[in-house]
């Protein structure tokens, strides 16, 4: 349960930190690259991928420790 809470709380903290960073960087995010596409659109897609990778990597580290303990 401790590992699940650690994963959940770190994921929650990172997500809210991303929101806060977006609020600070809003003028940059609004800049248009071409047509309707803005810097924020590209950033958002990259952020979603990196966020998923963060969750997965953290979980792998937590599992690796518990499986190593069991051997």
């Amino acid at each position: 349960m401790k590992k699940a809470l650690l994963l959940l709380l770190s994921s929650y903290a990172v997500l809210t930190a991303l929101f806060a960073a977006a609020a600070v960087l809003l003028p940059i995010m609004k800049r248009r690259i071409f047509a309707g596409l803005a810097v924020g659109d590209v950033t958002l897609i990259i952020a979603i991928l990196l966020y998923g990778l963060f969750i997965y990597t953290t979980a792998l580290l937590l599992i690796r420790v518990s499986c190593k303990d069991r051997r």
Binding site: L5, A22, A38
Partner: protein, 316 residues
Amino acid sequence: MLIEAASAFLTGVLFGRWWVPYQKRRGITSRDIYKGIDGVPRAGGLIAMVGAAVGYVLASASVAAALPLLVVAVAVGLLGLLDDLRGVDEYARVLFPVFLAFVLARAAEVRLTIPMVGLFYGATGWLAVLAIPVMTNAFNMLDPVNGFLPVANVVVAAALAAVAALRGQIDAVRLLLVHIAASLALYLYNRYPAKTFNGNVGSYFLGASLSTLAVLYDLVPYLILAGLPFVVNGALIIFSSGGIKGREKIARPTYLRNGVVYQDCSSPIVSLVRIVVADKPMEEYHIFKALSATVLISSALTTALAVLLKLLSLPI
């Protein structure tokens, strides 16, 4: 406000009294692996769908959003029911909610307000509507033990109702109360030891109902925050299994011995249940309590965040 919710609950409970034995008689059943029992009805989620549908129809007399919500949620729920009865191609399961989401984006005015940031500059809503297929599949991926899915829906919907109340969105609160009431009716039949499983109809309907509500009332970021255990579990499964797959096609990263669930260290798949039992092997009911605690924590944090943003006069 409470009439629709009360009607949803009562309809769900009364419908369940007929639907659960009917499934048994017709052989719409599967095996409860934790308890080693065969013949457990497998499409109990229809209880929530029927209950909520009555509530949404009653609300539609005065709340315009109730009708598109009803159409999208019931359509996705029926796809889940079809899947429970006959099986549906996994691409259809993913693409149908995507199709409905884009229809909704064209038909309704959809906005995306991000906490602290404000209205998303594009304001086309195309990103917000993706919450419908994403959350529907995320709900489908995390329905591992008796009682968890309806309880999680009650808790997450209550957090969204609190945020909506802070914003003064009374209509959203009304519809969320219907969702909560329908989930509670389902819980009566799905609680440990379950009289019926939720089935794909349950996870699909509840996922579509809650995410469509969030899209229509600009609550998507709060749905992601409050329902973070579902998002985390979905991300873990997608990254570890290499794509979106139906839950039947993903090998369990856990194994059962004498009613106790252990993590399978040889499995490449990672899920939230595996993380939960990584510290200590658990019985089914303890997994239910642990998963419910994660949803309770993420929902409480989300409500607290909305209150804080309101106090600081930041965009909610």
